[in-house]
Symmetry: D3
């Protein structure tokens, strides 16, 4: 940095021309987001977040919508908020579908109709999703001695937000919009530090306390009344390779956690194993084998193996 | 998904009517935020964040306020910023108080006066809080070899933000606004990945480095000159139940950490134990018993037990 | 809180005068951000984030810019977006430089010219940085069985964002703007839960999966084709002190990770040790000694020591 | 301006102290907006504009609301939009009432109830107001050879906006909120250049073309099917004074314009005169005496007087 | 207003149900913006204003774009700004076309292609429009003794804005988007108080000083080097009716003003008359007959007739 | 428009390249805002409007600032608001000065110091300006039978806003920032339809009612207690030319209006004439000769001349 003086003092030119040329060359050589000459528009993280906030407001209008609604006004609010959210969602579904393997080439009209159908089914699932979320909130209230009210659970627990996003993302995944579901899950990850793959199947009355660092993998299956603490991993132990040595995508490789299990902070549970109903897994435990129902696994025990 | 074609092609109707009916039914059967026919307005996360940012700007005007203040203008800025923040805070305190057990039924005028009193005391506590925060920043500068200036500590350390929010939230908690304090703590958790319950008592010169995944429980007590690293848990070992099997809320169940303790990354310290003054707790240590002052606990030692 | 009634009922005065006086006294006694009578303006977190988002949009216009660009319009977008970002960056570099030890006193004109030179070199480095980022995305696609497309890697992986910010921050660090680089790193930490010091040296094809809680220290050196999972720490074991007992800042104290290493979730690797090329470090492993190339370290093995 | 150099070069101090003192002195000596020790909050121009835009959207949802509403969604939109607007309006009415002569001292609870009653009656008047506005739009379509569609009348005619604001402002005026009504009228004046006092009484099927510079005074009465062009004044000729020489406020002093009258650009009609039904008043005419029904007044005629 | 007390004190219900029912009934009986079961989306005033501001910035980048552009960056700015504006414009043209008589029923694809063609031709016309606007600015500088610089003309003269909007609106009108052109003209009217119908034909070097209240009708034709002052009307004298008594729309009915004419403030010129080249029309003149080239018409003369 | 089909169907390319080339050519041939290779940044309309709103809030904090200020908080608000406004203003003054004839070439440092000096003097003038504005408000209250309160005058009269902007703009003009003063005047013109040149000299207790279309020229001089109505022009009769036939800029050419004059709507007063103290000028009067003090001029009288 000796030669500051020899550069064009006082200039605010950035020599953009060659940089832009080099960036163009780089783009052209390495990736290509066009498909058959057509730009595929990506879904928007900002809009999807607005959609989920809108749906959340429709599901829980006084908690996530407006605090001053009354019997007269609440259904108008729910109806209008939901309508706006769904009108926005259908466009994001449409964009995301184009990136689904096998849908790169279907006609625009069919793509649009599929997006509408998915959105309509998503809307129809909302009452059922709400019931699950109510069970989750009740589980939190029952499970945390520091929790003093439903309002506190709804407003002050990242686990509540993470599960809310997951239940909506899982619905989108199940209805055939996996890319958009992943985007929703990543928004939740950013907001909460909790990373749940949208394909994971999670039963009612689910509660994550504190939550930062929790990871739940793609093929995990979780029963009812399960409680997790921060930094719990439900992960894969190894990744199956195919004959060519490439990763096999989508194969079952994450744990099955049965009903009424509690998993304390920092526990790491890996592979397609089963944690039997009613078990307790202690903090920091490293578990790679199935355990019978009613087991009580602690780190000390693991160290003794 | 075979029957796309049989749905109403081209329609953007979402069949809102039955969904809204079902959501209303779900709301009515499961929870009720009205109290004696009156809506209880929830505090606003957005407004509370603005309040804390305003207070932060008043406490540290050149770091968190505006960079171009000078001797002539700084007190006007502090005064106006603080006044706006307090005017907003009093409304949030008022809303939150209504959710405090025992205050559901007190008269509006008394509620408002309590909110004003709490806000006035909060304001009066700010110089003292500032002194604590200055001690925290100095501890960070002394404790991290990568830190090069006060400005870097103020702007680039999530621990600084987490402790700033905690000291303000703890003050609100202590003055009788526990729900609002929890909301402040959760905002900090979202921003930093550090989860400190507002009831936790923390002495001067406190420093958290990196910080992601730190959890400090409701009844934890931390002395002066304590330093924590990422993913440290000061948690509960078990939750006391009452005669009916329900959780006892608020009982002491988290560690006491005395002065001059250092706790390295990933250590998990559980239960109402005491970490004696001047001790060092190594990374990933799992600690559920008290240790004497001056102890040096490492993972190896724990495994050997 | 018995005496609510004796306070001035109905007043919204906050007794600001004495609070503001006390805050002024506190400011004057404890820190001073003026240098020789001149305010040193701090860089702006908000503006720096806009700068990095602008640069990201210029690097990957269809993913991080606007989804509807075509061959005709893309270079105009890149050029204008980059120009705006660089015009903003140069001011932030200038502000940050003033906080660099040794630059407190240099003349404004020289400071401005240094800021321009750094910004110009930063701009010139962008094509090279883009090439590295492309290698990172390809590594992610190859390394995660749940990843289905480049678009998903770009939009839904916090690791992608963390590495993007790191490569830009590292460039700023290397060009002589360490404070601004730290601020960029902390923005990424907030967004992703991944904390990489901008001085850390990281080779091509780097992939972090899930990522929450990852910490990579200031003097860490990472080779090519390295893969990390959540909660991995590449930290310091102890901090060297100088003759006076003060921390020595900047000394090598973090690991060297050679090419083709995989480090699973929760592993903690501390000190200036070397993880030999092609090694695998298992989940939750605690490692404080160098391991030879091709090692396969698991927790069990560590416990057996 | 010769002595620039003798001022403090390089300073950005504005010598605020004495200016602020002088402004305080000026405030204290000249006006006082407190009433009996209580600040009277002024209504907000910004919020009132939002209220009127919300009401307009509820009245004409596809023109002033959202363009993509359908049979399923439109009533939810209308209901929610109206509810939000009325919730905001009631607070503005409450503030404005405090400035009504005779209401400076009534109790807060009574003031609030009056505001609610006015707002409720305003809401109940909306269908009737809508019918008037529809008649106005039809009159515009019939009366302007350049108009090609209802949509053009709704979106591109300042007269439409002015009349919309007037009909809402007049309703507020009539219900007992004259100050707020004036504020609404002034917003319309700013938007359109058309200045209609909210007390003016205007019949159905009213059309103002071009409109800039039109002034319609407080006690004007206008029949049905009246058409005005730009710069028409319906003003007062002289202001009655009381015995003390002070202005008598509110006395009838503006024209009565009967049904089916056309008044061309720039005509000035002053005093409590009557323009008989079916008359035509030519451009630039200066008229201070009543004219019989069916009159055709032109400038030439006036000059001949 | 005697019975405030008998209403439901304390309620904030607005009795929305019957109001919404009545508004629905009113909508259904009076107008219908659907065409063959399809909603016709209206163009957006807000978006069109953004489009025109974007085009203005592309035409005059340093005056209406960004003040810090240089030789290196200016074309990137122009290209990107123009591209964004045109991408937005094409959607507004498409919406507006659907309201064009005769286009209610054409297929979506044809409508979209027409919109693209119009937008493309509009873009191609911009250099020519810029040349006209430059001539207008030069005419202003030459014609106003108070004007001191081009910058002042560009930034501080409503006439400049009105003519800028008109030249763009007239181009849209000429290319077949008359409704959108009217909307652009009305935006200019709101901003400037100057009301120019987009169909009016106006030659180069046109200058309007002060401008408030100027009205230029649909079929007016104005030559080169014409100067107008505030409150000038170029209007219609009477509206031709067809055999049924309905207005004939679009017939020539406004003045022709030849080259080098000056028309002073408040002059009213009505009907399909011709103001000969080089004439001067005095302030407040009322003119309904053609005048020969070189005429000097003053009010005094008119009064003497 | 027959050949839609022959254009590239489905393309959204706008053929930007040749358009951008043509615009560049047009820019280069017709105007040049660089001065000696340096871009002269234009002042910002948006920022100047914010400055004036800030100054207005500081002058009348409860009317134009925040409605909830009290004795404790008001001076903090005034001080901070004023400081922010002045910090912004100084940059706008600096930019505008560069366009002042004779200042194109002065050094940056001198320009900056002149801008600071002007801003400091502007600040020091504010108490005096406030006193004038208070006299104006009192004149309005005394002069309009429809006005019911000071609050109504402050919030609902465009004349109040126009005079507020004028008094600030005139101060800037007088202190040597004529271009910025013009920009402020044009903002007021846009907001109110009232066009007052900032060089016009206007005495205390000035009131404009309704106001749309009022024009007051550069060299007009207005005494105390003068009242104007809408569409009054105080203009120039003819423009003096120099020996070369070019306009002489700045020569006295607008009326002098002495104390206690009332001028009714639409009156046009042209040339360097004097309207004697206490005169009344009737509506629509056309006046080009001086009138003695106490005159009562009406249109009828003028026609009789």
């Amino acid at each position: 940095m000796d030669n500051y003086d020899t550069e064009q003092a006082g200039s605010s030119h950035w020599h953009l021309g060659p940089i832009i040329d080099a960036l163009r060359t780089s783009r052209e050589s390495t990736h290509n987001i066009r498909h058959q000459g057509r730009v595929r528009e990506l879904p928007s993280r900002t809009v999807l977040r607005q959609v989920i906030e809108g749906v959340s407001a429709a599901l829980f209008p006084t908690h996530y919508g407006r605090p001053d609604l009354n019997d007269e006004s609440i259904d108008y609010f729910v109806g209008d908020t939901l309508n706006v959210a769904l009108d926005r969602l259908v466009e994001q579904v449409r964009r995301a579908l184009r990136f689904t393997p096998g849908m790169e080439d279907i006609a625009e009209a069919e793509l649009a109709e599929r997006a509408r159908a998915i959105t309509r089914r998503f809307a129809a699932s909302l009452p059922e999703i709400r019931a699950l979320l109510v069970s989750d909130v009740q589980a939190a209230l029952a499970g945390d001695p520091a929790a003093s009210s439903v309002a506190e659970i709804m407003l002050c627990y990242p686990g509540t937000i993470a599960v809310l996003y997951h239940r909506l993302a899982h619905c989108l995944h199940r209805l055939g919009a996996p890319f958009l579901a992943r985007l929703a899950a990543d928004i939740a990850h950013t907001l909460t530090g909790i990373d749940i793959h949208p394909a994971a199947q999670i039963g009612a009355s689910f509660f994550i306390d504190h939550g930062t660092g929790v990871v739940i993998g793609e093929t995990a299956i979780i029963g009812k009344h399960v409680r997790l603490y921060q930094a719990v991993t439900l992960g894969a132990r190894r990744f199956p390779l195919d004959a060519t040595g490439a990763l096999v995508k989508g194969a079952p490789r994450h744990p099955i956690v049965e009903d009424d299990v509690v998993i304390y902070a920092g526990a790491t549970i890996l592979g397609r194993i089963t944690v039997g109903a009613g078990s307790t897994i202690g903090g920091n435990v490293w578990l790679t084998q199935s355990v019978a129902p009613g087991s009580n696994v602690t780190q000390a025990k693991m160290c003794n193996d």
